[in-house]
Symmetry: C2
Subunit: 433 residues, 2 copies
Amino acid sequence: MTTSTEARQGTPSGYRILNEADLRDHLASITAVADELGGPPDRWSITEVGDGNLNLVFIVKGTSGGLAVKQALPYVRLVGESWPLPLSRAHYEHLALTHQGRLAPGLVPAIIHHDPVLALTAMELLEPHIIMRRGLVAGTTYPAFVDHVTTFMARTLFFSSDLALSAAEKKEAIASFAGNHALCKIAEDLIFTDPYRIAEQNRWTAPWLDATAADIRADLDLHVAISRLKLKFLSSAEALIHGDLHTGSIMVTERETRVIDPEFAFYGPMGFDIGAVIANLLMAYLASAGHERTNGEREGFERWVLATVEEVWTEFARKFLALWRGEATGDAYPVSLFPGEAGAARLETERQAYMARLFQDTTGFTAAKIIRRILGLAHNIDFELIEDTRQRATCEARALRLARSLMVDTASFTTIGAVTQAARELRHWEPEF
Amino acid sequence: MTTSTEARQGTPSGYRILNEADLRDHLASITAVADELGGPPDRWSITEVGDGNLNLVFIVKGTSGGLAVKQALPYVRLVGESWPLPLSRAHYEHLALTHQGRLAPGLVPAIIHHDPVLALTAMELLEPHIIMRRGLVAGTTYPAFVDHVTTFMARTLFFSSDLALSAAEKKEAIASFAGNHALCKIAEDLIFTDPYRIAEQNRWTAPWLDATAADIRADLDLHVAISRLKLKFLSSAEALIHGDLHTGSIMVTERETRVIDPEFAFYGPMGFDIGAVIANLLMAYLASAGHERTNGEREGFERWVLATVEEVWTEFARKFLALWRGEATGDAYPVSLFPGEAGAARLETERQAYMARLFQDTTGFTAAKIIRRILGLAHNIDFELIEDTRQRATCEARALRLARSLMVDTASFTTIGAVTQAARELRHWEPEF
């Protein structure tokens, strides 16, 4: 197995970085793609639009339809060839997308074509969807989002866990994603390590947050907490997680939701995905003050965001528990050990206890995802688009204070209501700069 | 990767079950083996001695040396072809043995020859070593055992964990053992499930333990506890564990110790291995009364066993911590997050907390390994050789009572001294039959 994984780390012969003309020729040669687009290939419009950090992304439009085409580069696009990154990530993304599409139909883009040699995937064009984070910055609410994202998480996590799979199926699934470690390593470094120490790539809103960043680099209780979370990320193979489930990986309209970009997928702790969603909503909430033109202008939006945080957890938990009660075909918690009415009641109590443990994990990972976006390499437009740096730093300091509390005092947050209450209390807190 | 794993599940063409004549021809064709044995092949003595449940084991002696040759059968030897078991286990055993031999030299048998097609491994002949369990039944003490077994566990577990490996190395290692799921499944069923429910293969010392077995099948607190341990066994990829580290997998003389038979190896929770050693020592202790000819005859042996239980944990912890302090090259707990004197002190506190968590796991798995040997399919000669069934059941009932307490009240056992004290208190307890 090592051999095939290692082979996948190199650049396969036949791979080449496509320009728009190459891509036109390639797509024209695939019947399914040509049919989807419609009309003669020389009439197709092709535009490279990738604004992510890693890949090329082309929008292709024909006379009858459109496609989004993603090609992996053998390095990090944002940095260049000095930061190589294996093309194999396109393989794992395709694998994860296939899995998610089967389990959560309609909640990920449909795959039209995948070419393993070119590390290229053509997907349905999401129009008029926008990146959810942009909508949140603009103060837009998404009434269908909770239902969609909780269905996505409950189904993809439950059905890849020991509650749904046999141990043999799960071990094979773990192995099939084990080679994606270059992407995992990015998360390990940028989320769980660098923000807590001096690291070249770190940045923050200076000079306002200089003291806070230094405090966090000296906060040993926090370092113990993040190290425990990192260990969980390294060793808890609970479910196939998306691995990067922030609001920049979600495309929305008012009625539709699509989760994209699962190239960080691997078998890890479920709380990492749920925490990613909650963290990014909490950041949208605490960034909101920075986008007000008049005091209180976004109160309705902010109320919606906090209500959404609460519902993300409660709806996720409700759906996950319903799956567990109805479709527990896995090897964990065999029902034969919980016979009769008393057994069923005891198993139900244990299900609640399991969810309480998962909530603790979620709370810790929520905090980790907030801190990395304010003190680490990759930042969010939620905060970045606040032009007044002092105002931006004020919002960020509130989020850091919330995160510190969530990570170190995790056990005191026993309900999602306690989390939103803590966020609400910090909404008007004024840090001393 | 799935493909190579699946291929390994079948019986490869070229595989055949060897009789003594076939084996002689095969071994004669391998220079390293013929040299080790010495003399003409037709003078070698070959005897099949396998008394385990799964494989053929031959003792081969030449004029200058001897070998133990183990060949996997495509089914469970004890049961026959109706219970198929993949030959791939010989591959995983060889992989684990190689890993253990590198990390704990002199504590596993040296490999002389491995044939993947025949699922056959030739190892150094361990003479005059005996299976440790037989020695314990006879009341023999092993003064070097603690040092050896704790070195074996500390080194094999530490160096395969996130404390020593990069995340990439560890993920590759997990994948390389992921195909061994048929063996894992045996543990999942026979240790974590069947003893707690009606199952055809269960047996116990009837009629004396009928009521106790029924109590355990109805004990929902215990069922929750064993289910949590099972989930940990299924999803905690902490280290490459031996997977079957009982006193029947250890060969000893007064001065030497060799750990054999790692065919159940996979990436699982460390506490499972440590708990296996402790459980089997505790069973030797509580079985000892059944092997007395006169009251108190084995007091010295029993004191040694309990002292050994304590030292297995304390020496393991001491050696594991020393490795962590000195050779922490892995991705978990990066020292850069714990700078200076204050950082070093905080990390040391966290190391102790980590060991306390590992001790809790160990305590739970200890209990699981005791219960499966008394109520499940596979029993121990520690108890089985007590001919008076009422006396045997008395010893077993004490062990079950200890195990129930260890598994359900795990948190109240914060030191290994508390575990041995509980065992000591049960040594003279008389169950009501």
